[in-house]
Symmetry: C2
Subunit: 486 residues, 2 copies
């Protein structure tokens, strides 16, 4: 080819710079490399120092052998193939389907039609009604089905909301640090400002209002039009559940500064310490207690079928509820979601099953409860086992497990590790996690992927992988790493 031969139109220097700037380490370099190792092992390669890859980088329970809830999947098998309902006796007598499975499938089909048809843009109306009733039971305050939007996981809800909220490159959104990097990545793509506020590791990753206020003020002084405040509760990657007074203080601040509150509540059932308070409930209580004072507030709260004991990530189901939005703004949100037609309809069915699981006295309840409790207790046990392993590790500090699916320990690494990492163009936590993957097959995410207070290092790991043998592998690796760079 001559020097003047035409080149491709697109290159890294001329495509969308905001996409290029976006960072998403949960599925970044290490995750890609771990998949290469997995493929190598599958081909029978014996070169690697481990015989299994453990993807602890992402909250993906069913990849790590968590069994789906039987009731959910039985119902889904019927909505996928409604012809099975013509053989009810076979389903009941030979396949062990309970009558409530069959009833729920019939009900869903009567409301959804075919799961192969697009639903209404914001989701199947009857499922939105079920979500509203679920929220009412949970919070003790009414919920309006018309304000509920079914989404493809919580991620697409976050994408929708940030698209509408951020008007230009001056628009800013307060985001906790550490955070699930969907927020910073989406803000990068939108060319809007992430206004970070640090969580307080020393007090169990709690939210410190003085810190939020200072972050807000610094951004506002620099000309950022701060419009919204994101809270992840229970926290990702931290696991912390916010106490009620903390939520009140945040809402009070948001009211004062006229900020839209985005409450990412996808881990609402993954709580080991304390209890979950929804932002919606606390807001409604505040509105009741001080009539007029909080009426102007806008809250969007998000939930998902991917987490909790449901763990149906691959089905891409979720919803968000809007509280207090201007109807003209809601109309724009509706239009935005309509452009991609609708959330996956089977995922919408999983939302229905999540918010309406078998009730006590119904035929499937006993098995459902056994499975649900088994998953909950298993997660809690493994969280504690992992925490005990961290307690044995030199230079590792980690508060007790509180919830969500993650631990986020601090790691204090020798100066030589930082030097070696810098030579490689990496941060010390990146080097640490890369070495861990190479030595053990365990894929975790460097703290830098979530943001961390300056001068600190962490990594995030799920506690989803079965067994406890793998935690020993981390302990061994850590010792060797520390010895190498001492």
């Amino acid at each position: 080819m001559s020097a003047t031969a035409p080149k491709q139109r697109l290159n890294i220097d001329n495509i969308n710079p905001h996409v290029v700037e976006a960072k998403y380490a949960v599925r970044g370099e290490l995750a890609v490399r771990s998949e290469e190792y997995r493929a190598k092992l599958a081909r029978g390669d014996k070169d690697l120092p481990f015989d299994q890859v453990i993807s602890a980088n992402i909250g993906n329970p069913q990849q790590l052998d968590q069994k789906p809830i039987t009731f959910f999947r039985q119902v889904l098998s019927l909505v996928e193939n409604p012809l099975l309902l013509e053989k009810e006796d076979v389903l009941v007598n030979q396949l062990g389907y309970q009558t409530d499975v069959i009833e729920r499938a019939r009900w869903l089909l009567s409301k959804v039609g075919s799961v192969g048809a697009y639903s209404a843009s914001a989701g199947v109306p009857a499922i939105k009604e079920s979500v509203a009733k679920f929220i009412e039971r949970r919070d003790g305050f009414p919920a309006d089905p018309a304000k509920i939007y079914l989404s493809g996981g919580a991620s697409s809800g976050v994408n929708t909301l940030l698209h509408v909220i951020c008007a230009n490159s001056k628009s800013g959104v307060l985001v906790p640090i550490p955070q699930y990097p969907l927020y910073t990545a989406s803000l990068s793509v939108l060319d809007a400002q992430c206004v970070p506020y640090n969580l307080d590791e020393a007090s169990g990753w709690s939210t410190d209002l003085d810190v939020i206020r200072a972050s807000y003020q610094k951004a506002a002084d620099a000309g950022t039009d701060v419009r919204a405040l994101v809270v992840i509760n229970p926290g990702n990657p931290t696991g912390a559940s916010l106490p009620e007074d903390n939520i009140r203080a945040i809402l009070d601040f948001a009211a004062e500064k006229n900020l839209v509150v985005m409450a990412d509540e996808v881990y609402q059932t993954n709580v080991f310490e304390g209890r979950f308070y929804s932002f919606k409930q606390v807001l409604r209580q505040m509105q009741k207690d001080a009539p007029g004072k909080y009426d102007h507030m806008e809250l969007a709260s998000l939930h998902s079928v991917s987490k909790g004991m449901v763990g149906e990530c691959g089905h891409r189901g979720g919803y968000f509820e809007l509280v207090g939005f201007d109807p003209e703004v809601e109309a724009q949100i509706y239009k935005f979601v309509s452009i991609t037609l609708c959330a996956p309809v089977v995922g919408q069915c999983v939302v229905e099953l999540m918010v309406n699981p078998p009730k006590e006295g119904e035929p499937s309840h006993a098995l459902y409860k056994k499975e649900y409790d088994g998953i909950f207790n298993g997660l809690k046990e493994r969280a504690h086992a992992l925490h005990r392993a961290f307690e044995q590790m030199e230079g590792v500090e980690c508060g007790p497990p509180q919830g969500s699916m993650y631990l986020f320990p601090t790691i204090k690494l020798p100066a030589k590790a930082a030097e070696a990492a810098a030579k490689d163009g990496r941060t010390a936590d990146e080097l640490y996690c890369l070495r861990m993957l190479e030595a053990t097959g365990i894929c975790v995410v460097p703290g830098s992927g979530f943001g961390q207070k300056e001068g600190t290092l962490h990594f995030r790991t799920t506690f989803l992988a079965p067994g406890t043998e793998w935690t020993g592998r981390i302990v061994d690796f850590h010792k060797k790493f520390m010895d190498e760079f001492r």
Copy 2:
């Protein structure tokens, strides 16, 4: 509330103006109103002059009683509930599942793991391999699984590609007029330039290269950085299939101007007249015939499970294949899709089934073929029935049905209709479609929702609704409308 009471932060004047500008009529005002009518009828309301709402506004076959393909749904029932595979004898002997259904489900589960787990970001590797083999069989040229990205319908693929291609508000994309409004809506949201080129209605909505060239030049002269060219083939809303020489001319022009080609080929099996040529096949042939000349070209072709005889819109499955992209750009595309984790996994399974349906000699083949041919012939018959109805209508002109799921007739309306519409703040085609909905319950989309050559009016209707009685309703409505405004 006093005049100084705080207001909501977000209003129509301060949210993202690019979202506000976006238009998506396929699910706009008329579609919303049609759903209100549907709900009214469901409540037993007798006030309306029709007893059924027909959603001819959107290609949503299974909403309009198209039955899903049995093989697909049987396999899906098993991947949703793998425990059923423990009762193979019941499946075969009492539920009529053929052995190839069971084999395919086992194969999918061995490759996917749980459909409740996130897959790899770009999709399940084994399904990407199946797609590559499908493309090879279709085109006679190799395809690389690593260049295939499974997506949530074709819509999310278009969103991904436009996000990466468009760098700033000067970036322009050539889009056919009329077009499926996903393109203009996405470009609005991205604040990039739509560079429209008119299709030629008189010659069956063909692509006229002189027109494309003139549109390109006009935009380039105005300072637009035209980067890509969209072709919808077979056309939406037009149904036209491009002949091979037309595709060659487009690719030649794209090579000359160094444009990325986006080939939206979701209707590739919905062809009644002529045959489908894929852009990939024609490009590979051109590269073979003139070595070096076209090597720099970038092509992205998109496909979906929503259309064709599959019609599984609600499952949100699709893929795009990249040809000739710079690896660094591909890495950014990969990162972008990873931010939303993965396409719905059941939708990915439907992609597998679409590209690998039962083969001749396999147990499920006869039924599959019968169902597939039945859907194809039904669509063709209904297209012609609708076309015959249009031929009876004064002032309506419509070329013979060519493919896709739509007809897009020209309507010549009396001047008084345009005046009445203008008083109402509408275009004449909007008024016409609104009146049709009010009179008949049939929801179609005004031509202005797709773009139309200045001075012309159209509407788009699917020919999916069963029966032909409803076409008579359109004929009656049309006569009354013309009489009213004469």
